[in-house]
């Protein structure tokens, strides 16, 4: 039995706008699943329907065997961390954390013990008497975490939990949340538009667009085997080129031919998808691969991004920055280079 089971979930508003159009999702006990997609894809609406803030138009939501589809939010036993943290400004940190226990009529002694324990877990027990406005963003975030965790919710809900933190803190909090979630075996549904966040934290990801699931799977599934061009471009970056198969190779609409493994892709319109880091570049007379012309060089520190023209097509290539002495290090825009890739790394996706 899935800890959180969503079947055929739909939300259509009175003005006819469909935010979520038939979503199925099962989350196992202790699993962290991310809903990932651009804004307006329906991920937040889905989360809010699970929390009970939006009433679904159709479908079923079951939490640990109990149907909650139309129950009010306070009767659902979910623990949510809000994007804005939504701490109670008129209550101290300890009062914020104890609130859920109070609502569950937990006795005073146990309430205090569990509040302290929850605050210790997020290393904030020394700030229990402070008020939210006296805390930094990262500390407020941890209070919100402790407040949601202290009640042992059946489902833990995270709404863009890191979007209000600065980049450096984000990485830290990311692993902290993941460690807590795993240590406590929390069944978690997270919403994010940040693919890095989703890739690093989740057991499984669900890529959504236009209220529908585009693809669900592990980070590796989505990255290595994207189901369509949308996923290929939303999760990581891809060179996407439209065309069709001709004589055992891919022929772009411009006529440029690119190596691939045709497999059973058929003769219909296709999208050629290739990750920028799967393309090798070399310079010199003994270099092998397709002749190409270097157009742009973007130095990113550890990596360098190149744009090369191959026939009429442009490909983005990402390589570890070459050391001084490497012929590529001296290459300049306008120089001739050779681009090569393993044909098996090319994905031929349906052109929709």
């Amino acid at each position: 039995m899935a800890a959180l089971d969503i079947q055929g979930l739909e939300k259509t508003y009175a003005n006819g706008f469909t935010a979520v159009a038939g979503l199925d999702l099962k989350i196992g006990k202790g699993e962290l699943v991310s809903l990932l997609g651009p804004s307006g894809c329906g991920k937040t609406t889905t989360l809010r329907m699970v929390a009970g803030f939006i009433d679904p138009t159709a479908g079923r939501i079951t939490i640990e065997g109990r149907e909650v589809t139309h129950l009010p939010a306070h009767a659902r036993d979910t623990g949510m961390v809000f994007q804005s943290y939504a701490l109670f400004p008129h209550m101290s940190v300890a009062q914020n954390v104890a609130f859920g226990l109070e609502m569950r009529k937990v006795g005073r002694a146990e309430r205090e013990a569990r509040t302290v324990e929850a605050l210790k877990r997020v290393q904030l027990d020394h700030l229990a008497e402070r008020y939210p406005r006296q805390l930094s963003g990262g500390q407020q975030q941890r209070v919100a975490l402790a407040r949601a965790l202290v009640v042992n919710p059946a489902v833990f809900l995270l709404d863009e939990p890191l979007s209000n933190l600065d980049a450096k803190l984000r990485g830290e909090v990311r692993s902290e949340i993941r460690a807590l979630q795993q240590a406590l075996g929390l069944t978690t549904l997270m919403v994010t538009h940040d693919q890095e966040e989703a890739l690093t934290m989740s057991d499984r990801l669900v890529v959504m667009e236009g209220g529908r699931v585009r693809q669900a799977g592990t980070a590796e599934d989505l990255y290595e085997r994207p189901a369509d061009a949308f996923v290929a471009n939303f999760v990581g970056r891809s060179n996407l080129i439209r065309g069709r198969l001709a004589e055992g190779a891919f022929e772009a609409a411009s006529g440029t031919r690119l190596a691939c493994v045709p497999g059973g892709a058929g003769t219909g319109p296709l999208v050629f998808a290739l990750r920028p880091e799967r393309i090798g570049l070399s310079v010199g007379d003994d270099a092998t691969g397709e002749p190409a012309v270097l157009k742009e060089i973007l130095y990113l520190g550890a990596q360098t991004e190149y744009v090369v023209a191959l026939g009429a097509e442009r490909l983005t290539v990402i390589r570890p920055t070459p050391a001084a002495g490497d012929p590529l290090h001296a290459a300049r825009p306008g120089d001739g280079v050779r681009a090569r890739w393993t044909p098996e790394h090319v994905r031929l996706l349906p052109d929709t």
Binding site: F53, P72, R76, S84, F88, H90, F99, A148
Partner: protein, 266 residues
């Protein structure tokens, strides 16, 4: 200092002088010995304060004013808060029109509203065969009209600044709708409500125009008693009474400020 900055400072000082000079003059005059105010005074005295306290009409006026203001706040502020919640939270049709209606006592000149109330009260008196004008109930009913628009305005502003997610967080933690209201919504509105009480109290306490026709024998407010006194005498007793009033209201504001930073809500 640059000329711009100098001008800026000068402007601020001028504004304060303009606002505070009449008050300072009032306080000074209340100590002048001469019955007909003249400058420079021939000496100083506390006689006018003694006179103010000794005259029963000022004492009774003060008590009536305080009673009316407290009762008007007790009725008007909860009513105005409820109206503000309704305006901000519901999808009622004609919300805009309703809001304007709630604020209309601020727009109608007090003397016009007072006359309208007086005529309405007279008609009601004839129908119901009971006194309304010249009673405490009649005055409170009128002053509730002063409290409601101020409350609606101030509380609506606080509601707009309130993050709805905080209430959702409470519900998510198991709070039922009434618990969300009492434990979260109301405490978050507290600064706004305190400000509403203060505005309403002061508006009621110092109101003259709306009240003018509604008072009766033995049931008159302090500002009206002051006007009555002024009709026959022009000695500094009024300055003394007004000074006491200024001190009381300033004390009220300072005490309120201890609980809610007024600068955050006004």
């Amino acid at each position: 200092m640059s000329p711009g900055r100098l001008l800026y400072r000068g402007g601020i000082i001028a504004a304060y002088v303009l606002m505070l000079a009449p008050v300072a003059a009032l306080v000074a005059i209340s100590f002048f010995r001469d019955e007909i105010v003249s400058f420079p005074p021939s000496g100083f005295t506390l006689h006018w304060y003694a006179n103010g306290f000794a005259r029963s009409e000022f004492m009774s006026g003060f008590i009536v004013s305080a009673k009316v203001a407290v009762l008007a706040c007790l009725i008007g502020v909860p009513a105005g808060t409820a109206a503000a919640l309704g305006i901000a939270r519901s999808n009622l049709p004609f919300k805009g029109a309703f809001t304007t209606f709630m604020l209309s006592p601020l727009i109608v000149p007090g003397i016009v509203a007072g006359t309208a109330l007086y005529l309405t009260f007279l008609m009601a008196q004839n129908r119901l065969d009971m006194d309304i004008t010249g009673t405490l109930g009649g005055l409170v009913a009128a002053h509730v009209l002063l409290a409601i628009p101020w409350t609606v305005r101030v509380v609506t502003a606080s509601l707009q600044g309130l993050d709805g997610a905080v209430e959702e967080a409470a519900a998510n933690l198991g709070a039922r709708p009434w618990q969300v209201f009492w434990r979260v919504t109301l405490p978050m509105l507290r600064p706004g409500i305190v400000a509403a009480v203060m505005f309403s109290f002061i508006q009621s306490f110092e109101n003259l125009e709306l009240t003018l026709l509604l008072v009766g024998p033995g049931m008159s407010t302090l500002p009206i008693e002051m006007i009555n006194y002024l009709e026959f005498r022009m000695d500094p007793t009024l300055a003394a009474v007004a000074t006491v009033q200024v001190v009381l209201i300033a004390a009220l504001m300072l005490i309120t400020d201890r609980f809610v930073k007024l600068s955050r809500v006004v």
